[in-house]
């Protein structure tokens, strides 16, 4: 009730949606080059560092190579629950003592679980860095997982699950994921269910922590008022005690099931539409060509073909966009929008026409030129515009194995993409029959 209270209406697609897509198509770079140092601690922990003293802040961000897709079967929600518990007591400090210390030190610490990774971030004023990193080390290496906080976090998560039990969008999403991914872990709810949460014990948490917080697959980025030598020492303090590797089984790849229509009927004023086409992995040689095609089709700006046809010309929707989604085990090109309930079929028709034309003809030379300029220039604006976003970008670059010089090479890589390559990749991705999700009122029976 609170959030919408002082609603600020925004003209366009919401800013965060853009950021999301750009991070996903994690390719986009800068004229601006960033001076990244590679730091290696005595025990071999590595980090990328951008040293900067203009604001008295240090930001550290890191990721581990496993996320909620690694939840054991029947223990869904484990990764998510675990990440809620790192500020709830560690070492000798119980939950209250830990939080008071964190508040005294003036640090912000947060952990989160994605499907493929667990992320941690700490942001701290430079003059209390040492004490803050002590707390981070304690949280990461000696989390207590006490019964009290576990119960509290479980019941908060359960309340969230209960609160959306009748929410058509949540229910439709769940149905959609099952339709796309079948039995694969990607289809399972990352928050878990009331039943699975109830089965999770402190020992499950300890074991999962031991198996996910490991040096193998750890990637670290640090931005702010700290030098390389100091950081090397800190890296050993924070990460040095973590075990080397995990005993968790590998997760299989999965191809999404295309060519199907999934409906979730509910009397809403709008119909939400999702279309999923084949994607490609980040290390596919055609990835950048696909990112450019996506930008022209429906990504990134107010000038895309879908935006023009669906919104500008016809006023069918407020928000329409497309994005390349690259996960460790599945990829997709997705399109999403919401339109007046009685316009769902018309809108779907317009989208399919735009996609068909792109598959058959590809982009024009002019569109490609403009897209290249955008995708090159927008990198600094979207990915390097604060310490927090630089740290996030540097972790993603490491996760994607793109190399510490990628930001410098990126513009050349993008400029090297040819029109033929974009046409070929458009044909490859967009000729398929997509999976389609429609959430909205049931269609009227034909007479």
């Amino acid at each position: 009730m609170l959030a919408a209270w002082n609603i600020v209406a925004v003209r366009g697609r919401l800013v965060a949606a853009l950021a999301f897509l750009l991070v996903l198509s994690a390719c986009l770079v800068a004229r601006a080059s960033v001076d990244i140092q590679q730091v290696r601690s005595k025990s071999g922990v590595e980090a990328w560092l951008v040293e900067d003293y203009s604001v008295p802040i240090v930001t550290i961000r890191f990721s581990f190579d496993r996320g909620s897709a690694a939840d054991p079967e029947g223990k869904e929600g484990l990764a998510n629950l675990m990440t809620s518990l790192f500020d709830e007591g560690a070492g000798d400090l119980d939950s209250e003592a830990f939080q008071i210390r964190l508040d005294d030190v003036g640090a912000e610490m947060s952990f989160s679980a994605g499907r493929d990774n667990i992320y941690g971030t700490m942001r701290v004023l430079a003059d209390s860095r040492a004490e803050a990193f002590d707390l981070l080390r304690l949280a990461m290496t000696q989390p207590r997982f006490d019964d009290g906080p576990i119960g509290r976090m479980k019941s908060q998560i359960v309340a969230g699950i209960r609160a959306s039990e009748n929410d058509p969008n949540t229910l439709a999403s769940r149905k959609w994921l099952r339709a796309l991914y079948g039995d694969h872990p990607y289809a399972r709810p990352t928050d878990g269910t009331v039943e699975t949460l109830n089965t999770i014990t402190p020992d499950d948490l300890r074991k999962f922590h031991r198996d996910t917080f490991v040096r193998d697959g750890l990637h670290v980025a640090v931005v702010g008022a700290i030098d390389a030598e100091t950081l090397a020492t800190e890296l050993d303090r924070i990460f040095g005690e973590l075990p080397e590797s995990s005993s968790l089984p590998p997760i299989p790849d999965v191809a999404q099931k295309l060519d199907q229509e999934v409906r979730y009927d509910y009397p809403l004023p709008q119909a939400r539409l999702r279309l999923s086409y084949p994607g490609l992995s980040r290390d596919d040689p055609d990835f950048l060509a696909a990112a450019l095609v996506n930008h022209i089709l429906g990504g990134g700006s107010f000038t895309s073909r879908l935006f023009k046809e669906v919104r500008e010309k016809r006023g069918l929707a407020y928000d329409i966009d497309s994005g390349l989604s690259t996960s460790q085990h599945s990829n997709a090109l997705m399109i999403g929008t919401a339109t007046r309930a009685d316009k769902a079929e018309e809108t779907l028709g317009v989208i399919r026409d735009v996609v068909r034309r792109m598959a058959e003809e590809g982009p024009t030379a002019e569109e490609l030129e403009a897209a290249k300029k955008y995708v090159i220039g927008a990198y600094a604006v979207n990915n390097l515009n604060s310490s927090a976003s630089i740290a996030t970008t540097l972790v993603e670059l490491q996760n994607d194995d793109l190399g510490i010089d990628y930001i410098d090479r990126r513009a050349d890589l993008i400029n090297a993409v040819t029109l033929e390559e974009t046409k070929a990749v458009a044909r490859r991705l967009l000729s398929a029959e997509p999976a389609v999700l429609i959430v909205g009122p049931a269609p009227k029976p034909a007479n």
């Binding site: 009730m1 002082n6 604001v55 929410d167 069918l316 997705m334 515009n385």
Partner: protein, 457 residues
């Protein structure tokens, strides 16, 4: 991956903007470079916030015209007009601005609130002059035809359906706001009422444009890799050439009458499974505040409901262990009387009354026994820390200054905020709670499941 996530983030987008706009925050003492502030000869105000970490700049123009400045019966025109500002001018055809931004690799957007409308671009520093030229051009040279107005009104209607009609939370908020304000135009939603939105036309848009889109009603904020000298030079060559508009009347909106009742607004919806409540009181904004009351309200909200160390969280979620969500909120960055909110959701649907009683008991405890000096100090430190963190993003800084200036504060007010917070005493915090969080005068909103038998008071 997957739409589940994508979808959530999209919704979160709106909130991100709100968060950035919330509390004024900044300390001169901790600023490496001074924030500059000057007027162009046509009355346009300029704020420059240098930050040379990256060759990027955020360029914003804030108009002191929001939904609360709309003529009666024309709700939604401020926001609808914001959309129309992207439709081309006599010098630049429709789409030119967006195309240039896309080619440069920048971002642009705009947003509308009760007291202001703002337009922004984030671009490489060397494109700043072009952004200023384009933004200055559309301040007076917009061309509006019925061909562009029709489809764009449909877009805004879809926006309303997406944000409000399909979301019981948003529908309730709208009605609570309309109940809290009995006379002031804050009672009308920013996006507008559906029946009035449907009727907005070209004449309404032009009237709004001609009344408010004038240099002497605008604030230019530039944050990033620039110097004040360079900004002044560029601003004089672009915005400075625009003729000063007629003097605008003072922003005197109809004010609230004396309020004497406790009102409840209840929405039942079958999508709701977990009930929740929120209670709001009218309180002064920073502009209206006297004797540090706004600062005391910020500290009060932080002590009562700001994060895991707050009283509500500790008492209802840790010691009490029966709430799923609780908090308190004060939005001081408004021109006129604003609101103070407490809210709560139980873990067990049957416990709504218990949660509400416990939240109100914490409010009563502060009114009766006050708060400690230690609590005030911790709250102050958290608020000031949040503002140092804001300096990490030029866009956040531009938003903080723009929203403050558009709601009657000055650059000095923003810079002095930490010092004024430091002057707040525990007694002042108790006193604003006593004075404003009245037992018998407030609005309480309930979001309840459709088939609930629950009785609420």
């Amino acid at each position: 991956m997957a739409f589940g996530e994508n979808f959530k983030r999209r919704l979160a987008g709106g909130l991100v903007v709100l968060f950035l706009l919330t509390p004024p925050a900044f300390s001169r003492s901790e600023t490496p470079e001074q924030v500059s502030n000057f007027l162009l000869s046509n009355g346009m105000e300029v704020v420059v916030i240098p930050d040379h970490r990256a060759p990027v700049v955020t360029h914003m123009v804030w108009y002191k015209a929001g939904s609360a400045d709309e003529p009666a019966g024309k709700s939604g025109i401020a926001h609808f007009f914001e959309h129309l500002m992207f439709k081309g001018t006599k010098n630049n055809a429709p789409g030119v601005f967006d195309t240039r931004i896309a080619e440069i690799g920048g971002e642009q957007n705009a947003f509308t609130s009760y007291d202001y409308t703002a337009y922004f671009q984030t671009v490489a520093t060397d494109a700043l002059d072009e952004m200023m030229a384009l933004e200055a051009d559309r301040m007076r040279n917009l061309i509006l035809t019925d061909q562009v107005i029709g489809p764009e009104r449909d877009v805004v209607l879809e926006e309303r359906r997406m944000r409000i009609e399909g979301d019981p939370d948003a529908l309730l908020s709208e009605e609570v706001q309309a109940t809290l304000y009995q006379n002031h135009p804050y009672r009308v939603p920013v996006i507008g009422w559906m029946h009035e939105l449907e009727q907005l036309n070209r004449e309404d848009a032009l009237a709004f444009y001609n009344s408010f889109y004038r240099p002497n009603n605008a604030i230019l904020v530039v944050a990033g890799d620039v110097t004040p000298e360079r900004v002044r030079e560029l601003a004089e060559a672009t915005y400075g050439k625009i003729e000063r508009g007629p003097e605008l009347p003072p922003r005197l909106r109809p004010q609230e009458p004396e309020q004497n009742t406790a009102r409840t607004v209840t929405l039942r919806d079958e999508r709701v499974t977990l009930p929740s409540f929120g209670r709001q009181w009218l309180v002064p904004s920073y502009r209206m505040s006297e004797n540090g009351e706004a600062e005391a309200l910020d500290i009060l909200a932080e002590i009562l409901g700001g994060g895991t160390r707050s009283r509500l969280y500790q008492e209802l979620m840790v010691k009490g262990d029966f709430a799923a969500n609780v908090g308190a909120y004060y939005n001081g960055t408004m021109l006129d009387e604003t609101s103070f909110t407490v809210f709560g959701t139980p873990r067990n649907p049957a416990d709504l009354e218990k949660v509400q009683a416990a939240v109100m008991a914490q409010v009563e405890r502060i009114k009766k026994d006050g708060v400690t000096a230690d609590e005030v100090e911790r709250a102050r430190k958290r608020l000031v820390r949040g503002m140092v963190f804001s300096r990490d993003s030029s866009t956040s800084m531009a938003n903080i200054y723009g929203s403050a200036l558009a709601t009657g504060s000055t650059v000095k007010d923003v810079a002095d905020w930490p010092d004024r917070l430091a002057a707040v005493t525990p007694e002042q915090v108790r006193d604003v709670a006593r004075k404003y969080l009245e037992d018998a005068v407030h609005v309480t909103g309930y979001l309840l499941p459709a088939a609930s038998n629950q009785e609420v008071r």
